[in-house]
């Protein structure tokens, strides 16, 4: 078993635990490289199908390429796709810095979707290596009634034994690719021939390493026009993956505040 096989087997294990132990789950599909790998892994876990809905919490500000990708593969992969809108910007905490405030719309949209469907588990494609607060996450991470994350009281989780009983009305975040890295995602995407949005590949000396809303996501300098070149670039670079995400850098704790409030 090589490194990618191990990552894959572990993710499948997590998917099957979530499906077996929770009543009503959905997978958050942000259309990016990580959630596409996640859908692929789920189809491996469930022998070709996604036996629960894929939820796209849509800010309405994604790139056109992303919407095209969603509409095409949502059909081709036979997903039970639920597109849920986000509230307008004035409905969001005005004390947050601008980009974070914009991103917080997604947290609110997520809460609305949760209330609408009554999911007790949301599968999310975050990874430990992306960002420091995510490194502290659990695989099954309980969220409070307001969708908030209590970092000071995370349940113990060991030997792949997960806490799967959310309190009444609350939900769990399930993180099946928490243990993957950015490079793992690309190596696996290549090995499995998983489709990607072309924005990840360099055009005019720039490419997106991480895709978010159009107005708060910036491309990084790059000449990588295929996955092998992306992998070679990752071996060399010292630029963090989320460097192009404005909301991470506004204040020291902007991102932590978002995550504690329920952001991914």
């Amino acid at each position: 078993m090589d490194h990618l096989d191990q990552l894959e087997a572990q993710s499948i294990y997590i998917f099957r635990e979530a499906f077996a132990r929770l009543k009503k789950i959905a997978l958050l599909w942000s259309l990016g490289k990580d959630s596409n790998v996640m859908i692929w892994l789920a189809r491996k876990a469930f022998f070709g199908r996604l036996p629960f809905p894929a939820l796209h919490v849509d800010t309405g500000k994604k790139f056109p390429e992303m919407y095209r990708f969603r509409d095409h593969y949502g059909k081709e992969w036979e997903l039970d796709l639920r597109v849920e809108p986000c509230p307008p910007i004035d409905a969001v905490d005005p004390t947050l810095p601008p980009a974070a405030r914009s991103a917080a719309r997604k947290t609110e949209g997520l809460k609305m979707a949760l209330a609408k469907y009554g999911f007790d588990g949301l599968i999310a494609g975050i990874r430990r290596d992306e960002e420091a607060t995510r490194a502290k996450e659990r695989v099954f991470s309980p969220r409070g009634l307001e969708g908030n994350w209590d970092v000071r009281d995370q349940p113990p989780e060991f030997w792949d034994h997960f806490n799967a009983s959310p309190p009444q009305g609350a939900h769990l975040r399930i993180h099946p690719i928490l243990h993957w890295t950015e490079a793992d995602i690309w190596a696996y995407t290549k090995r499995e021939n998983i489709p990607i949005i072309p924005l990840y590949l360099a055009k005019d000396g720039k490419r997106y390493r991480s895709l978010g809303d159009q107005d708060i996501t910036n491309p990084v300098a790059s000449t990588a026009t295929n996955i092998d070149e992306i992998l070679a670039e990752l071996e060399q670079t010292k630029v963090p993956e989320r460097a192009g995400r404005a909301l991470d850098h506004e204040t020291e704790d902007a991102f932590e505040r978002l995550r504690v409030a329920g952001y991914l």
């Binding site: 189809r43 793992d184 690309w186 071996e235």
Partner: protein, 638 residues
């Protein structure tokens, strides 16, 4: 320096097989874990651009000297209080391997987070402050590493600058920690004097520790071995789920140890049922022809239809795990409320979930000060050995035979509250299931149904005491027999007088009573009879179990006579006794009867005659395919 570092983990585009080693850093609070990690990352050039500047700015803003630990203590609360609250992970690579460093908090209050981090590790670095020496938390962490099965421990004596790099002080601490670890059966792989703040002994041996001849921290990490391969052990495939998305019935799970391939003869434990693996299913390509080993998440189909459920363990017939209702385990306890003798707990062993009772507590100790002992309860952050009695049999291995299936966790109110290792499995007086080979009947199902003019079935009558279950059951029995069928009455009370006379009326015993009734009834149904079960069976979960056991043969009838009428009838005088307080755990007076939500038929015996009710049951049995319709019979005769 022998470290090549990249900010992200190494890509393995060609599926190369660099071993990955997971290392946890543990020790008493303030002994310098986060500083060591920060230093390691800095010295090896693995910090992303701008991180160092950001940390300097954060320190300056707080008016503090530069602090490495800010790198990992990402949370605002952690920076404010200067402590690590939760475990985190960071990656880098050495010449020979990829390393995942797990930083675990040392504060006693966050022991659960330390365990969360350490349980994933192949090796550990235990850090000790040269000035403060070995502390309670140092000993506690050493003990927990041992308990978690982490055998490779490198000890780092930090802050040597505070003791003027004294080799005598170093030796003192080395001797003390060696004695402690050796006492637990752990031999430190190295004991290294360092100053994490200044870098001595981390990646380089400096003059200030010129008297020290052993490895640096980086060299010690490079010598730790990846986890032992599990493929060499006996096959253990705990069942996570059974999927019927299409015409395949796929048994899904992760191979914890050993390996399997289509054609293997397997046994499903704890029931001991035997089958052959027909195919190994996968996606996008299926079936899989190659042998699948430990660590793989697989799906298999079997050559026969057997009742299998989540938590069962699939093994090879000659190396199956033992079936037991009694375990001895060494556990650590993380819950606020101490674990006491007599406590009802939920035990998880892989995907298997079992209700259990703590029947004895031995050797409860605080691993920080190993002398103190008691045997009534295990306090928070303490360890102990306990005997557990399980309400249902499970398949388990002692951890010495299988580290994966020899582990368990304990849940309280839906949250993991402790966990530990299975020390021994008491198989008791039960038969060794691997020697049991079920014998198939000489008769085929259609031969029997041609004679009886019905298929085998389990007709399950549930309802309050005196609701009329037995009366209905007898009427139905008489009617089916008159028509040439083969009904057999299984009355709950009658079976309690014999087969089940070892069982009481606790929830666990009631469940077992229902399970046995269901097993007997299902056996009769498989042999073509209609087993009519009349049993209060108040728990919905227990009836669900019965339905799972009997599967498609199950027909549930809720005898829904109003409670006050049942009490008025009271043919056995039970209600009267219960009202007088002479019948503990009597269903009916309390509110512990859980009504069926989807019974095949609901009958209120206060509203109709016995004959009418029997008609209705007969009709239901016809429409659900148990009794053959006359029309079909006529057609068959033409």
């Amino acid at each position: 320096m022998n470290m090549l570092v990249t900010p992200t983990s190494p890509a393995t585009p060609n599926g190369t097989t660099r071993p990955q080693v997971r290392i946890v850093i543990v020790g008493h609070v303030d002994h310098g874990k986060s500083t060591l990690v920060g230093r390691l990352l800095h010295e090896t050039g693995s910090l992303p651009d701008g991180k160092l500047e950001m940390l300097k700015a954060v320190s300056a803003r707080r008016g503090m000297p530069f602090e490495w630990s800010f790198l990992l203590d990402a949370l605002q609360t952690e920076r404010d209080q200067g402590i690590t609250i939760d475990t985190t992970q960071i990656r880098f690579r050495t010449n020979s391997r990829d390393i995942v460093l797990i930083d675990a908090p040392g504060h006693a209050e966050f022991l659960r987070n330390m365990i969360t981090g350490a349980s994933q590790a192949d090796g550990a670095v235990l850090i000790i402050d040269a000035l403060e020496g070995v502390r309670d938390q140092t000993r506690r962490h050493g003990y927990l590493l041992h308990l978690l099965g982490v055998k490779q421990v490198a000890v780092v004596v930090n802050k040597m600058d505070r003791v003027d790099f004294s080799d005598l002080r170093f030796k003192e601490i080395s001797d003390e920690i060696s004695a402690h670890l050796n006492g637990l059966g752990v031999t430190p792989t190295a004991i290294i004097p360092i100053s994490a703040r200044d870098g001595d002994g981390v990646a380089e041996r400096t003059d200030r520790i010129g008297w020290y001849k052993g490895p640096t921290v980086v060299e010690a990490l490079d010598r730790l071995e990846p986890a032992r391969p599990l493929e060499a052990l006996a096959l253990r495939l705990p069942v996570q789920a059974i999927y019927k998305f299409d015409d395949r019935r796929i048994v899904a799970g992760r191979i914890e140890s050993g390996s399997l391939i289509a054609g293997d003869e397997i046994v499903i434990m704890p029931a001991g049922k035997i089958a052959k693996i027909k195919t190994v299913e996968s996606w996008p390509v299926t079936p899989v022809a190659t042998r699948q080993g430990a660590g793989r998440s697989v799906g298999i189909t079997l050559d026969r239809e057997l009742f299998i459920e989540r938590g069962d363990i699939i093994a090879h017939a000659n190396t199956a795990p033992r079936e037991t209702r009694r375990l001895r385990a060494r556990i650590f306890w993380l819950h606020d409320k101490p674990l006491a003798k007599g406590d009802q707990i939920l035990v998880r062993s892989g995907p298997k979930e079992s209700r259990a009772t703590v029947v004895a507590i031995e050797k409860a100790v605080d691993p920080g000060e190993l002398e103190s002992r008691e045997n009534k309860a295990i306090g928070r952050n303490h360890v102990g050995e306990i005997d557990i009695s399980l309400s249902n049999p499970i398949a388990a291995d002692p951890y010495t035979e299988n580290p994966r299936t020899g582990r368990l966790v304990i849940e309280v109110s839906g949250r993991i509250a402790g966990g530990g290792l299975v020390l021994s499995v008491d198989a008791g007086q039960r038969a060794v299931p691997v020697d049991i080979v079920p014998v198939e009947s000489a008769l085929r199902a259609d031969e029997r149904s041609a004679r009886y003019r019905h298929n085998g079935a389990v007709v399950w009558l549930t309802g309050l005491p005196a609701s009329g279950k037995s009366t209905l059951a007898k009427a139905l029995e008489r009617r089916l027999f008159t028509n040439g069928g083969s009904p057999i009455l299984l009355d709950g009370d009658t079976l309690r007088a014999g087969l089940n006379n070892d069982l009481g009326f606790s929830a666990a015993d009631r469940s077992e009573n229902i399970r046995r009734l269901a097993e007997v009834a299902t056996h009769l149904a498989r042999n073509g009879h209609i087993a009519i079960v009349a049993a209060v069976s108040p728990a919905r979960e227990d009836r669900a179990t019965a339905r799972r056991i009997a599967d498609t043969a199950f027909r549930e009838i809720h005898v829904a006579t109003p409670a006050e009428i049942c009490e008025e009838r009271d043919p056995k005088g039970h209600y009267k006794k219960a009202r007088a307080g002479a019948l503990a755990s009597f269903t009916g007076i309390g509110n512990d009867y859980e009504r069926p939500e989807a019974a095949e038929l609901v009958i209120d015996t206060s509203a109709r005659t016995v004959t009418d009710a029997a008609d209705e049951i007969e009709q239901m049995l016809k429409t659900t395919g148990v009794l053959f319709d006359e029309v079909v019979d006529l057609a068959a005769n033409i």
